[in-house]
Amino acid sequence: MIFVKRFFSAFLAASILFTGSVQTVQAAMISSAQVAESVFSGAADQDRARIITALSRQDVQAALIEHGIDPAQARSRVASLTDEEASTMATQIENAPAGSGIIGAIILVFLVLLLTDILGFTKVYPFTRSIR
C-alpha cells in the first residue's frame, strides 16, 4: 500500500509543479519491492509502521534515551530497514516475553536480539579483548 501512496504523493507533487501540462493519464505501477516481496515471499510493510508506532510512545522514547539511543535516530534507522528486516523486528517485539512489556521488548530487540542472532557488540568481556 505504501508504494501506492508513495507513488501518488510523487504524482501529486509533479501535478502541482506542472499544473496544466500534466496529462490525465496516471500510471498505476506495481513497485519492484512489491514484486520482490511476492517473489521472495517476504513480509509486509505494516511491520515498519508498527515499529514506528511503538517507538513513538513516550515511555518507549524515555527508555531509548536512557539507553543512549536518540529516538529520532531510532526512527530513521527503522525507515532504512528492508521489509524482511522490519518484519523480523516486529515479530520479535510481538513475541517478547509477556512480563517485560513492550518497552523491555523494544529495548531487547534494539539492543540484544535481532534476526535470531545477536548484535555486534564487541569486546564486552575484558579477557576476550585480546585482539587489541
Partner: protein
Amino acid sequence: MFRKLIMLAFCLLLNACAATGVREAVQNPSLPRQHELTQTPFFPQSQYHCGPAALATALNAVDIRVTPDQLVPEVYIPARKGSLQIEMLAAARRHGALSVKLAPKLDAVLEEVAAGNVVVVMQNLGLSWVPSWHYAVVVGYSLDRELVWLRSGTFERFEMSLSAFQRTWARSGYWAFVALKPGSLPKADDPDAVAKAIVAFESNANKADVYLAYDVAAKRWPNHLVLLMGLGNSAYALGHYSHAINAFRNATIAYPNAAAAYNNLASVLLLQGEPVAAKEAAEKALQLAQSDPVLRAEVMKTVDEVNAYKAKKPH
C-alpha cells in the same frame, strides 16, 4: 600483553585441527592461490567502534568518502557498545552503496576478495557462551599458507589462519557482506541476493543510481523477474518509457504469468499513447491476477485508467 598471550593461546588451540570448509576453499581450483587488496584504506577503531571502522573501510574502498566518526551515530549503540548487523547494511545503503549479503561459505568470501571486493565480516572472537563480537574487513588471503588478512580493530594487517578465521566467523552465523557502488556486481552468481540488495537500496537512493544498478544486474541475469521489473520501474521513474516497455516486455516473455509485469507494461504503454496495446496488456494482467485480491485491486486501477483514456479520446 596478557591479552595478546591469551589470544595467541586461543589461536593455537583453534589451529589444532582444520575447521570445516577450509579444505574445500584451499582446494578450490577456481580461486587464485593468493590475492591481497593492499590499497584498501585503514581506519583504526577507537574504543568499541569496530562497526563504524569496518564500514568506513569498506565504503572508502569503493571511493565513498566517509569517516568512522560520521558513521558512529548511524550504527553505534552506546549502551551495548556495538553495532547491529542490519544497521551496518542499512548505513552502507544510506551512503550510496549496495549491501549484498554473501553466501555462508569461506569460498564466497575469498572469491569476492579475488575479484577486488573487500568483505565485511562479523566474528565472534570469544566463544559462543562468552561472546566477543567483532566486525572486520577481509582484504586478502593465501591458500598455500592458509592465511587471511584483515583490517581489524587497531591492526592494519591482521593475519589469521584460515581455520581460526573460519571458526570465529562461523560463530556469527557466517555473516558477511560486500558494499558496492551501483553499477558494480559481486563475483558471486547470486541474482536473488543482488535483487534484494537493490530493492533495499531503492528507498534511499537517487533514481539514476537505482536504474544503473538494475541495468547492470539485468544484463548479467537477463531472466530474473525482480531485476527486470526493477529495471522497468527505474527506467519509468527516469522517464525512459521505451526502455521501461522493453524491460516489462522481457519480463512477460520470461514470466508469462507475471501479472505485475503486464500491469506495468500497460501503464507505460498508455503513457506512450498506445491505448490498444495497453488495453491488451491490462486485460492479460487482470486475467492473471484473479487469485490475488491485492494485486487484482491494483490491476483494476490500470484497467480503469486504460478505459478512461479510451473514453476521453475516442478515435
